[in-house]
C-alpha cells in the first residue's frame, strides 16, 4: 500500500508558548490526505488554516503531534523538496526572467544549466506561457504571474502542491480561469493539492474534500466530501449539485463568530 | 516616563527589555575602547599614530576651557549657517512651487551639487569676503544647508496624495487654501528629514571650512594646529569635542521634531520604533 500524501496526527500549535500572550492556534488536528486528492482548508480568519499549511510545509514546527508527508517526517520532506508551494503573492524574483524564476528550485537542488532550463520550459508549456520565457515578471499580468508561480512550484515534479490563497489577489474572472487551469494541470500531473482559501465556491469547485475549520482555538469542524466528477467545466458552476455542496459548506461555517479583532497576527 | 498603572510583572519586563537593548552596544563600545587601549600598550604605538583612549580623556578633562572656546566658534558658525540656510531654503521652496522656471533651473543644480565636494568654495568665499572674518565659513554652511532644505521641502510641498488634492478640489478650495491645509502640513515631516541631515552637515561644514586658512580659533583649526606641534592626544580630544557638538546638533533637531509633531511621535510609538 502507498503512504498517505499527508498525515497529520494529534497536531497542536501554540504561539508564544509559556508566555502570558500565548495563543492556541491549532488543537487536536487529525487529517489524512490520500495521493491525488485535492483538499481545501476553509474557515474564518484566525482558524489556523494558513498555520496548518505551514506546519505541513515544515515552515513552522508543531508544538505537539506529528506531520508526515509521503510517509516521511515533514522536515525530511522539505529537505527532499517533496512539495512545491505557492502563495497569495506570486512572489516572483523581479530580477530574474520568467524562465529563470521557474528554474530557481532546480538551481537550489544543484541541477545543471541545460537540464533545468529544459525542465523550466516544459513547465511553462504546462501553464501555457512558453512564449513569455524571457519576459520579466513585471511585464506579466497578475494571473500570468500566478501561473509562473505554479510552474515554479511544480518544477521539481513534487507529488504535493501546497497553496496559500494563491488566487486571492486576482479579479473574479481571472480567478475562475485560473481555477480551471489548476484543475487541468493537476489532472495532467496527478499532483496532490492542499489549498487554503476564503472562498466557498472556489473550495467546492476545486476540491474532492473541503476541510471546514473553526477559530479560537483552531480546529477541524467538519469534512465535506465533494464529488463533482473529474471533468468540471463552466457549467459545473451552475449545476444544482455544485450549489448543494456550496450550501453544505456554508451551513458548516455558519454560527462561527466572525471577528477580525487581532486575528491578523495569527496568520503569518 | 513609565505610567504607574502598569502591573508589577509588566514593569519588570519593560526594564528587562531596556537592559536587553542597551547591553550589546555597551559591551561592543567598551570592548572596542579596551581593545584600543590594550593595543596601544601591547604594541607600543607611537603617540602620533594612536594615543590610548585614556590619554585622550585626560587631555579632554585637562583643557575644558580651550575645547569649549573652540567648540563655541565652530558651533556658532554652524548654528548661524543652519538657521539662515533653513530660512532661505524654506522661502525659496515656496517660490519654486509658484514659478516653474526657477524650479526647473534649481532642481538639476541641487542634484548635481549633491555629488560635488561643494565645501571647496570656501577658498573662493575667502577671497570674496575677508579671510579673517567668519563670514565665508558661515556662508558655506548656509549654502550646504540651503540645498538640503530646498530639495526636501520642495518635495514635501509637491508630493501630496492625489486623493487629498481631488478632495480639496471637490470643495472648490483655492490654491492658497490647498497650500495651507494640505501642502504645508505635508511638508513638515520633510523639513525635519532635511534638518536631521542638515544639522550634522552644518557642523561638519563649519569644521572643514576652517581647513582653508583664516582665523585659528575653531575646532578644525585647533586639530590641525595640535598635530603640527605633535600633540596628538590633544587633537583627539578636540575630535571628541567635535563629535559631541555634532551629536548635540542632531539631538536638538530630533527633540524639536518630537515637540512640534506630537502626532508623528504617537505614530512612531505605535509602529514600535
Amino acid at each position: 500500500m502507498t503512504a498517505a500524501a499527508v498525515e497529520v496526527k494529534r497536531l497542536t500549535k501554540t504561539f508564544n508558548a509559556g508566555r502570558p500572550d500565548a495563543v492556541d492556534a491549532l488543537v487536536d488536528i487529525d487529517l489524512t490526505i490520500r495521493p491525488g486528492e485535492f483538499v481545501s482548508l476553509i474557515g474564518p480568519s484566525g482558524c489556523g488554516k494558513s498555520t496548518q499549511l505551514r506546519l505541513i510545509a515544515n515552515l513552522l514546527e508543531p508544538t505537539t503531534g506529528e506531520v508526515l508527508v509521503n510517509g516521511k517526517p515533514a522536515r525530511q520532506a522539505r529537505l527532499d523538496q517533496d512539495y512545491g508551494m505557492a502563495f497569495q503573492q506570486a512572489g516572483l524574483f523581479e530580477w530574474r526572467s520568467v524562465v529563470k524564476n521557474v528554474e530557481l528550485p532546480l538551481e537550489l537542488k544543484g541541477w545543471n544549466k541545460e537540464k533545468r532550463h529544459g525542465r523550466a520550459l516544459e513547465m511553462l508549456e504546462l501553464v501555457k506561457l512558453p512564449e513569455f520565457a524571457e519576459h520579466l515578471p513585471w511585464q506579466l499580468s497578475g494571473g500570468m504571474q500566478q501561473r509562473v508561480a505554479i510552474a515554479r512550484a511544480l518544477a521539481a515534479h513534487p507529488p504535493l502542491l501546497l497553496m496559500d490563497e494563491p488566487f486571492g489577489a486576482l479579479d473574479e474572472m481571472t480567478r475562475e480561469h485560473m481555477q480551471a487551469e489548476l484543475l487541468r494541470i493537476c489532472g495532467e500531473t496527478g499532483t496532490t493539492v492542499v489549498f487554503v482559501t476564503h472562498s466557498i465556491p472556489e473550495a467546492v469547485y476545486l476540491s474532492t474534500r473541503v476541510v471546514v475549520m473553526s477559530p479560537r482555538p483552531g480546529r477541524i469542524k467538519t469534512l465535506v466530501d465533494v464529488n463533482l466528477g473529474s471533468t468540471r467545466t463552466v457549467d459545473t458552476r451552475e449545476d444544482p449539485a455544485f450549489f448543494r455542496k456550496v450550501t453544505e459548506v456554508r451551513e458548516a461555517l455558519r454560527g462561527m463568530q466572525v471577528t477580525d479583532l487581532d486575528e491578523a497576527g495569527l496568520e503569518p | 516616563m513609565r505610567s504607574t498603572t502598569f502591573t508589577g510583572s509588566r514593569r519588570v519586563r519593560t526594564n528587562h527589555s531596556v537592559v536587553e537593548v542597551l547591553w550589546p552596544p555597551l559591551v561592543f563600545g567598551l570592548g572596542f575602547l579596551a581593545l584600543w587601549e590594550l593595543a596601544v600598550k601591547v604594541f607600543d604605538f607611537q603617540p602620533y599614530f594612536l594615543p590610548p583612549p585614556s590619554a585622550i580623556w585626560d587631555q579632554f578633562k585637562e583643557n575644558p576651557q580651550l575645547i569649549w572656546n573652540a567648540t563655541k566658534v565652530s558651533g556658532l558658525n554652524a548654528l548661524i549657517g543652519l538657521l539662515v540656510g533653513t530660512a532661505l531654503g524654506i522661502a525659496i521652496s515656496f517660490l519654486l512651487g509658484r514659478f516653474r522656471l526657477v524650479n526647473e533651473l534649481m532642481t538639476p543644480l541641487a542634484i548635481a551639487l549633491n555629488a560635488v565636494p561643494i565645501f571647496v568654495l570656501v577658498a573662493v568665499f575667502n577671497n570674496m569676503f575677508s579671510i579673517t572674518s567668519e563670514v565665508p565659513r558661515r556662508l558655506m554652511v548656509t549654502l550646504v544647508v540651503y540645498f538640503i532644505v530646498l530639495v526636501n521641502v520642495t518635495r514635501g510641498l509637491r508630493e501630496v496624495g492625489p486623493t487629498q488634492l481631488e478632495l480639496m478640489r471637490s470643495y472648490a478650495a483655492s490654491e492658497v487654501a490647498i497650500l495651507r491645509k494640505v501642502r504645508v502640513p505635508n511638508a513638515v515631516p520633510y523639513l525635519f528629514t532635511a534638518l536631521k541631515i542638515a544639522a550634522p552637515a552644518a557642523v561638519i561644514t563649519a569644521f572643514v571650512s576652517e581647513y582653508f586658512g583664516g582665523s585659528q580659533n575653531g575646532l578644525g583649526s585647533r586639530i590641525v594646529a595640535s598635530i603640527a606641534i605633535s600633540k596628538n592626544a590633544t587633537a583627539w580630544a578636540y575630535v571628541l569635542g567635535a563629535c559631541l557638538l555634532g551629536l548635540t546638533f542632531y539631538l536638538i533637531t530630533v527633540a524639536l521634531e518630537r515637540v512640534t509633531t506630537p502626532g508623528g511621535v504617537a505614530a512612531r510609538r505605535r509602529a514600535g520604533a
Binding site: 510545509a57 524574483f93 537550489l108 501546497l162 | 533651473l105 555629488a115 565636494p117 565645501f119 569676503f129 582653508f212
Partner: protein
C-alpha cells in the same frame, strides 16, 4: 536643463559684478556683501579662458592639463577609498544580517557616526604618512587619503546594505526559500542581495560622494601634494595676482565629484536594467 541652470548661475554672477560694491558691503563693520571686484570675483570668461593658459609664466602646457592630472590623482585615491569602504561596508552588513547580536551591538554606533564629524579625523590619519612603519612597510601619505575616503564611504554602504538585506525580501520569498530548504548562503546570494540592490544604489551614491569628500579634505587639511585639493589651496593663495586660477581647480573638484557619481549611476543602469520601471512599484 542642467546647462541652462549653469548659464543662469553665470549670468547671476556677472549681474552681481555689475551692481555689487567693489569692496564689499559692510553692515556693522562686518562684510556682508561679497566684493565685486575682479580679484574676488573674476569674470566667467576669464575663468574659462584661464584653462588654456599655462599654470605659471614660463611653464609648458596649459593649466587644464595640470588640473586634469590633479583630478585624476584624486580620482584614483577616491576610487581606492570607495572600493575599500564599499567592501568593508558590505561585509559588515552581511555580518549584521547574519548575527543579530552584531547588529544590536554595532548599529547604534553606525547611526551615531552619521551625525558626527568623522572628517575631524582627517589630519590625524594623514599625519601617519611617512612616519608609520608596519613591519618593513612604510605608510605612504596617499594611502591615508584613500583610507579616509574609505572611512567616510563605508558607513552609508553598511547601513543601506543592511536595510536592503533584511527588509527588502518579501516574507513570502523568504518562506519560499525555506520551503526549498535553501541554505543561508543560497538565500543570501539568490534572494537577499538581488533584492537589496535598490537599497544599495543610493547608499553607493552617498559613498561615492563621501569618498571624494574624504580625499579632498585629507588633501586640503594637510596639503597632501598631487591632488586637486592641494591645487585649490595653492591657487587660492595666488588669488590677488591670478584670480581666475583657483576656479579652474574648483571646477576640477566639482567634475571629480560628478564623475564619481556618474560611475555609480552606470552601476545603477547596469543592475536595474531588468527591474520594473519606477511606476510599477507604486
Amino acid at each position: 536643463m542642467f546647462v541652462l541652470s549653469l548659464v543662469a548661475v553665470a549670468v547671476l554672477w556677472e549681474l552681481y559684478k555689475l551692481v555689487g560694491p567693489q569692496d564689499g558691503g559692510k553692515l556693522f563693520g562686518i562684510t556682508i556683501l561679497p566684493r565685486a571686484n575682479d580679484i574676488a570675483m573674476p569674470h566667467v570668461w576669464d575663468m574659462l579662458s584661464r584653462y588654456a593658459e599655462p599654470e605659471r609664466r614660463g611653464a609648458s602646457g596649459s593649466i587644464f592639463l595640470v588640473v586634469l592630472s590633479g583630478a585624476w590623482f584624486s580620482f584614483r585615491l577616491a576610487l581606492t577609498g570607495f572600493v575599500l569602504g564599499t567592501s568593508i561596508g558590505i561585509g559588515l552588513a552581511v555580518l549584521m544580517a547574519r548575527y543579530r547580536i552584531v547588529e544590536r551591538g554595532l548599529l547604534p554606533y553606525l547611526v551615531i557616526s552619521q551625525t558626527v564629524p568623522l572628517i575631524a579625523l582627517a589630519p590625524l590619519v594623514v599625519s601617519w604618512g611617512g612616519k608609520l612603519h608596519i613591519g618593513g612597510f612604510e605608510w605612504p601619505r596617499w594611502l591615508s587619503a584613500a583610507v579616509l575616503g574609505a572611512f567616510l564611504a563605508f558607513f552609508p554602504v553598511a547601513v543601506g546594505t543592511l536595510k536592503g538585506l533584511t527588509s527588502a525580501p518579501q516574507a513570502a520569498s523568504l518562506e519560499l526559500m525555506d520551503s526549498y530548504a535553501a541554505s543561508w548562503r543560497q538565500t543570501l546570494f539568490k534572494l537577499r542581495f538581488p533584492a537589496a540592490v535598490p537599497f544599495m544604489i543610493p547608499a553607493l551614491k552617498l559613498a561615492a560622494t563621501a569618498s571624494v569628500i574624504g580625499v579632498v579634505v585629507a588633501e586640503i587639511s594637510t596639503g597632501l601634494a598631487g591632488g586637486v585639493g592641494r591645487l585649490i589651496i595653492e591657487y587660492a593663495r595666488e588669488a590677488t595676482s591670478d584670480p581666475a586660477k583657483v576656479f579652474t581647480a574648483v571646477f576640477g573638484a566639482a567634475a571629480l565629484g560628478l564623475v564619481m557619481a556618474g560611475s555609480v549611476a552606470l552601476i545603477d543602469l547596469a543592475t536595474m536594467r531588468t527591474r520594473p520601471p519606477k511606476e510599477a512599484f507604486e
